[in-house]
Symmetry: C2
Subunit: 124 residues, 2 copies
């Protein structure tokens, strides 16, 4: 997914993936049901035996906390942009490997494969 | 600097660079004097008109907070390893560009230069 194509819901899920460990257990439990299990607010309220309002407030608060972390650290956006760039670099390497200038057993083609392999380690 | 070569003091400074925005203004002020200005604890105490013990406690607390963020998020180590890997990829590209298989005006050499440029955007 391109950074420019991330909608608000996907952004909230990504924030949760990224900074979720910084929330309390209770906040994580609600976020987990909402973003990972795709429960509705009504379903979460039933599951946890609390009011819909309590679920809503909990989600809003968690979302605000996660956004504050990202506003201060900006690490998530930076990582997403890096991944996008890594994808472009890999595409460019794939293109180059098809060049008629190169032979299959030449050092450049082997080197390009090696670089592609090294770069894939950056995607994690 | 290689990840394996980072000593404890450098590690604390890096943690501060990375997560320092999450500290309070007061904690940041002390960390700034210690890690950026290289003041001693005695000098900080004099500068801020507080006891040496207060400075020491403040530094210890900030350090513990920063380490907790890194223990939970692990983003700093991951970024440092990425930078190290990017450096290796750039070195490998530089080597390949010297290959006698390539000509200066060929598409592969131009492509390698372009990839090198793209990758340098990952270092920030």
């Amino acid at each position: 997914m391109k950074v420019s194509e991330i909608d608000n819901m996907a952004f909230e899920s990504l924030l949760y993936d990224f900074y979720g460990v910084l929330l309390t257990d209770k906040q994580r439990e609600v976020m987990e049901l909402y973003h990972e299990e795709n429960y509705s607010i009504v379903e979460i309220a039933r599951e946890l035996k609390v009011s819909k309002q309590a679920v809503y407030d909990n989600l809003k608060k968690s979302d605000r906390i996660l956004r504050e972390y990202e506003a201060k650290l900006g690490l998530m956006l930076s990582l997403l942009k890096s991944r996008e760039l890594i994808g472009s670099v890999q595409d460019r390497i794939d293109e180059l490997m098809k060049s008629p200038e190169l032979t299959d057993d030449g050092e450049v083609k082997k080197g390009l494969l090696e670089i592609r392999e090294m770069i894939s380690g950056l995607e994690e």
